[in-house]
């Protein structure tokens, strides 16, 4: 994946830019020493690295505004960064860019149980939002697997999901308001603790815009009361198709599980070797979790198991206690770690219509053989969000490229069956060049025109989301303006 050549005019005035940034921020909030900027050279997509010109760590919305004003004036590209856990390269810098990190913006501004909202600064981690309301038995629903580390800012930028979206939705469904700083330094508010927009739904537009339209410094989030309890059932099947049919039947029956997770044989084998969760060795495994009081859980699990039995499962294991629940979840939660033990891996994130599941899994296994790289599948089956994990050896010349080519083919397959390139990770640089497979040139032009309105000179995270060739003339504006 290519990144554009840095703007030499910006590189040559590094000293001036740093000096100006230091004039509006505390001394320790501007990082420009080459040894130290390395800490910001990559995010979770660590195959790609480039230290930024400098990194800044503002502590308030006003400081963010002051930084953006300077960068706007000087024509310096800005790459906003949450915790840097993006798997798509959303926070990858270029050598001529400033990393704007929100790590010091981590206060809880207000918790309001009557109105069921919490207002936080966006550098706060996802899990610590729940942490702030847990003592009152509330929680923040979106739960990306990086929730211990990932920041709300990044969740908003990528519209992050998690395992429980089937019932609770993704970030955009749980975000009620933001404080937004635009590239020219303008500070504004969108939404609030009330519901829905009066005019155009700009809040909905900002969420998932990958840090290209503005920097979100504060967020009002919906919090929910914890359910009385939750318990899963584990089921194993001897083929993928039957597992897929079982998922569809559960959904059709009117039960709305809070999560339906799917693992295929390669994934089951790897996690068993790693975590010994006691999973059955079979072709497909489902974990279906429901919530409520004990009696409500029993009723729903009873119905789900009744449906599962019609599909002749090789294993059907209902959790009766929190220990048993933990055991059932253990393998699923260790899946990524287990893969990491075997090899380097690349985690894809395409979404497909649930009905195409068997076809897509069959094609992935054929492609895996063609490319000679193993692929394990673990994903959120209820909403069709797949996470094929392609195993490769980073130390073997050409293997990364081969892996990326297979990944691209799998994502094209997702689009071909009516799905999309990314369900919750974002486009970043990773899927940027595949956008032409999902969108027509007019569609991309329309989206880029939206960025023109917020950031006319394309300084905010400019080399992401859109194929470099399509955004070239716009990115040139920044260079010309400088």
């Amino acid at each position: 994946m290519e990144m554009p050549a840095p703007n030499t005019a910006v590189l040559s005035k590094k000293a001036k830019i740093v000096e100006r940034l230091q004039s509006v921020l505390p001394k320790d909030a501007v990082i420009y020493d080459e040894a130290e900027t390395r800490a910001y050279e990559c995010d979770g997509l660590s195959a790609y690295r480039c230290p930024p010109l400098a990194a800044v760590l503002p502590s308030s919305t006003e400081e963010v505004s002051a930084v953006l004003k300077i960068c706007h004036k000087e024509g310096v590209p800005v790459v906003p960064r949450g915790s840097g856990t993006s798997l798509a390269g959303g926070a990858l810098p270029t050598a001529d860019s400033i990393i704007l990190g929100v790590a010091r913006l981590n206060d809880v501004i207000e918790t309001d149980y009557d109105n069921r909202v919490i207002k936080v600064q966006t550098g706060r981690t996802n899990l610590s939002v729940t942490g702030a309301v847990e003592e009152e038995d509330f929680f923040y629903a979106p739960d990306p697997s990086s929730q211990l580390a990932c920041a709300i800012a990044g969740n908003i930028a990528m519209n992050s999901g998690g395992a429980h979206c089937l019932k609770y939705g993704v970030t955009t469904n749980n975000l009620l308001g933001v404080t937004l700083v635009m590239m020219d330094g303008t500070i504004t508010e969108l939404g609030g603790a009330h519901l829905d927009a009066g005019g155009l739904d700009l809040l909905g537009l900002i969420c998932g815009s990958e840090g290209q339209l503005g920097v979100v410094t504060e967020a009002t989030l919906r919090i929910l009361r914890k359910p009385e309890g939750a318990r899963p059932v584990l089921m194993g099947f001897d083929n993928n198709e039957v597992a897929g049919a079982c998922v569809a039947d559960i959904i059709k029956a009117g039960v709305l599980p809070v999560a339906i997770e799917f693992m295929d044989r390669p994934c089951i084998e790897a996690t068993e070797a790693f975590a010994q969760a006691g999973y059955p060795m079979c072709e497909a495994l489902l974990i279906v979790e429901v919530e409520g009081s004990d009696a409500e859980i029993d009723e729903q699990l009873g119905l789900i198991m009744q449906i599962a039995r019609k599909h002749n499962p090789v294993e059907l294991r209902e959790s009766k206690s929190s220990d048993e629940s933990a055991k059932i979840w253990l393998g699923r939660k260790s899946a990524f770690g287990a893969m990491g033990q075997i090899n380097d891996y690349m985690c894809l994130d395409g979404t497909i219509p649930v009905s195409s599941l068997p076809h897509v899994l069959k094609r992935i296994s054929e492609m895996s053989k063609e490319y000679g790289l193993d692929v394990a599948n673990v994903f959120h089956a209820g909403d069709g969000n797949m996470h094929p994990l392609i195993l490769f050896d980073a130390n073997k010349p050409g293997d990364l490229e081969l892996c990326e080519a297979l990944g691209a083919d799998i994502l094209r397959l997702c689009v071909e069956v009516g799905g999309c390139l990314t369900g919750e990770h974002g486009v970043g640089i990773e899927k940027r060049d595949l956008m032409v497979d999902q969108f027509a040139a007019d569609d991309l032009e329309n989206q880029m025109a939206v960025k023109d309105v917020f950031d006319p000179t394309w300084l905010l995270n400019p080399s992401k989301v859109f194929p470099l060739a399509s955004s070239e003339s716009r990115r040139a504006l920044a260079i010309a303006a400088e």
Partner: protein, 372 residues
């Protein structure tokens, strides 16, 4: 003009030189008055795809809502955001279309639990003001590929583009329902009770308060039969401190309560202008007393106030800076033109909105002035 295909729709817009007034079923004449030639989507009909197992439906924008609801009902599913039927309130006739529901982000009492129309939108195909056919989103439930213009189009009242096709997430119908009713509460206590109920683990799917001589605060519980009974009992215990509580256990009667609330049935024959105010529930409790009218009720746990005031009254002025927005849903054209139907936006937001309209509709022909 009533195009029959997306291509005809694109041609009609591409060749238009003067403003167009975009309508679906014409049952929701909401917005600042627009003068222009009528462009109707009512001939763009048909369900393109419905997969109950994937909780997804895709339909052309002019498809009558009733057709969609019938199709979903056969599979025991529904649009969970419970779109309001505006006909009786606004004195209109005809068939509401799914495109109209989306264009207005029309949502009902279940908004508090299941989200608004915008939360169930998966994809759109639309024609912008230059006649270019565009798409965004898709038909799958999780999709962060590119900007979310689906949300932007939802609730844009035809001012950014004319939708030709919409894809929505649907949900299973619930088995049964009941309504827990607390009697005799003043507004502030009612909002407190609704907050307690919505903040409980008992999955309340709607919370409304009807003030008056015999005020009643209503909480809907939906689900499987035993679970509904259990949760109603738990709510009665949780809310015991608030006073006399009864439960409407007849599902048909409970459903009727909520369809009446959804469609603002109490105000169908009321004289005056009808406003809809969205604020946070605790602000709703304060604001209700300052409206200068007794003809109001609260939905969304107190966060949505429906109010009737004498014609021409600027109810928005009484919000006095309370965060939120007030929309003038029913008034004559002169009042709508004078007071602005939609809440004024902060200057930077208004600038961005105007900038987006100029990009999507450079000729300024799509419902110009309807929103701002």
């Amino acid at each position: 003009m009533t195009p029959k295909t997306e291509a005809e729709l694109a041609d009609a817009i591409a060749s238009a030189k003067t403003p167009l007034r975009i309508i679906g079923g014409g049952t929701r004449p909401i917005g600042n008055p627009v003068a222009g030639e009528v462009l109707s989507t009512s001939a763009l009909t048909g369900i393109e795809l419905y997969e109950p197992g994937a909780l997804t439906i895709v339909a052309k924008s002019g498809t009558p809502l009733s057709k969609i609801e019938t199709a979903l009902s056969k599979e025991n599913q529904r649009l969970a955001f419970e779109p309001m039927d505006h006909r009786a309130l606004l004195g209109t006739t005809g068939d509401p279309t799914i495109g109209g529901v989306v264009a207005g982000n029309i949502s009902g009492p279940r908004r508090v639990q299941a989200g608004a129309c915008r939360d169930h939108m998966l994809g759109v195909r639309f024609v912008d003001g230059t006649g270019t056919v565009l798409k965004n989103g898709g038909r799958v439930m999780k999709n962060v590929t590119g900007y979310d213009l689906v949300k932007l189009l939802t609730g844009s009242y035809g001012t950014l583009g004319v939708m030709s096709e919409v894809a929505l997430k649907v949900l299973p119908k619930t088995d049964t329902q009941a309504t827990v009713m607390i009697h005799g509460l003043p507004i502030a206590r009612a909002v407190k009770a609704m907050s307690a109920a919505l903040g409980s683990p008992y999955e309340v799917s709607a919370a409304a308060h009807m003030p008056g001589d015999s005020p009643v605060t209503m909480l809907r519980v939906e689900g499987f039969e035993k679970s509904v009974a259990y949760r109603c009992d738990q709510l009665k215990d949780t809310l015991a401190e608030f006073g006399e509580i009864t439960v409407e256990t007849d599902p048909a009667k409970s459903a009727k309560i909520w369809s009446a609330s959804r469609d603002v049935a109490g105000f169908h024959n009321a004289e005056g202008d009808v406003w809809r105010i969205s604020v946070k529930p605790t602000d709703g409790a304060h604001l209700a007393g300052k409206l200068g009218t007794d003809t109001f009720f609260m939905d969304w746990g107190g966060g949505l106030i429906w109010a009737v005031v004498p014609a021409g009254t600027d109810l928005r002025a009484k919000m006095n800076g309370t965060p939120g927005h007030a929309t003038l849903i029913r008034a004559d054209e002169a009042t709508r033109a004078k007071l602005d139907v939609f809440h004024p936006e902060l200057a930077p937001i208004a600038k961005v909105s105007a900038g987006l309209r100029a990009k999507f509709d450079p000729k300024g022909i799509l419902n110009p002035g309807l929103m701002a």
